[in-house]
Amino acid sequence: MTSTAAPETKAPLFGEQEKKAILDPLWDDNPISLQMLGICSALAVTTRLDVSIVMGISVICVMAMANVIISLLRHMIPSKIRIIVQLVVISGAVIIVDQVLRAYAYDLAKQLGVFISLIITNCIVMGRLEAYAMANPPWRSLLDGIGNGLGYAWIICVVGAVREIFGSGKLLGFQVIPDAMYEAGYVNNGLMVLAPGAFILLGVIVWVQRAISGYVEK
């Protein structure tokens, strides 16, 4: 098993392609807001910011691991069974993350519950393996995995933060809306803790993000 990757050629460590691999998915080619992938978990685990952060980190780890492994094996994988091989690698990575969380962050693992296991079915992961890691060297694949993971993570963290602030008046468990507001008649928005709140919010984020990045429907 290999865990670290070295650049295969003498190309610069951070050339044009490497930069593109890590920066594109953050904004110009964001997996959630532009490719519309991974929506299910983005809706499900974003009621609180801390849960979103852990989910984001888990996805980054899984994508980085899976991308590197597939990229290292890319010349050996028989194309007939490549999808199954990708799934085996993803499942392996997800189980590693799940086991580690259960040992070191039991409460959060309980909160996230089945959604960690469901990273296996997150289209972003398999999409990147098939589209990128199967055709690129390990170093660049690692950057691509981290980039896409970050692209996913920052969006769910924004959704998580907004939902936590308006849904329960807190951020990372600390109260941010002052008691004076509640005394003046302010109430937490119950919609925000439910799935429709996430739908609306995600829609708004996609809209804003596409408006700024100048996306045009092809």
Binding site: I77, P78, K80, V85, Q99, R102
Partner: protein
């Protein structure tokens, strides 16, 4: 090398599976003790939450909470036939057998007692578990020292649908259990029942022995009523003994 020949595909698939599974097996074994410790700590926290010793999301460090548990909570064994606390080991609980016949679930059951700071009995905490809709739910029901008034209930492990049956964890719902009685006026065991719909506060019986049902989770609610009753029944002699 022809990576598409059948023999290559076979060898590749087998190697892949063996490598991945042995790596995972190694990881699972090496993390097992940590995970068990974390699960045990979570169980202790739930016992203390049910007994009202701590609040959910208590900010104290893990060591402090573990110390609190060690200081204030002790495990005792109840002889369910004679209804007294005895020394010795509890019988292993057999869920499957207990489901069919509560009498078969073992004569010696383990329960926990929470003490006040002065060392007086504050609450008794009984494990409750049984089938919800999808899964077996595990929790703790705490009774005050009178063995009648409910102090709290907590579920720490279940596989119910989040948002529906999973709401058995909801703090607002578990708070409704507080103050309910498990014995009726004649001292008979009636347990606390999860009603379908809202409790009618005008009816004294409902006010005393019923809690609101969980919307969209009738089967889980019924399951909770059923297994709480059967677990209380198993300890009936002990609970009714004054």
């Amino acid at each position: 090398m022809n990576t598409n020949s059948n023999s290559y595909v076979m060898v590749f698939a087998v190697t892949m599976c063996v490598t991945v599974s042995s790596a995972l097996a190694f990881l699972a074994t090496s993390l097992k003790s940590k995970q068990e410790a974390a699960a045990e700590f979570d169980r202790q926290k739930n016992v203390m939450m049910a007994a009202g010793l701590i609040e959910r999301g208590d900010p104290r460090m893990r060591e402090d909470l573990e110390k609190l548990y060690a200081d204030r909570v002790k495990q005792v064994v109840v002889d369910t036939i004679d209804g007294v606390i005895v020394d010795g080991e509890a019988d292993a609980l057999n869920e499957a057998a207990a489901e069919k016949d509560p009498e078969q679930s073992g004569r010696y059951r383990s329960i926990e007692q929470a003490m006040t700071e002065g060392g007086k009995l504050d609450a008794i905490i009984l494990p409750v578990s049984g089938k919800g809709l999808w899964s077996t739910c595990y929790g703790y029901l705490a009774l005050a020292g009178d063995k009648n008034t409910v102090k709290g209930i907590q579920f720490y492990k279940h596989g119910e649908t989040p948002g529906l049956g999973g709401e058995i964890e909801n703090a607002t719902w578990t708070a409704m259990w507080k103050g309910k009685k498990i014995l009726d006026d004649k001292g008979e065991l009636v347990s606390v029942t999860v009603k379908k719909g809202k409790v009618d506060q005008q009816k004294p019986v409902e006010k005393k022995h019923f809690v609101d049902g969980l919307a969209g989770a009738t089967i889980t609610s019924n399951g909770v009523s059923k297994f709480v009753l059967s677990d209380l029944k198993a300890l009936g002699t002990y609970l009714q003994k004054k």
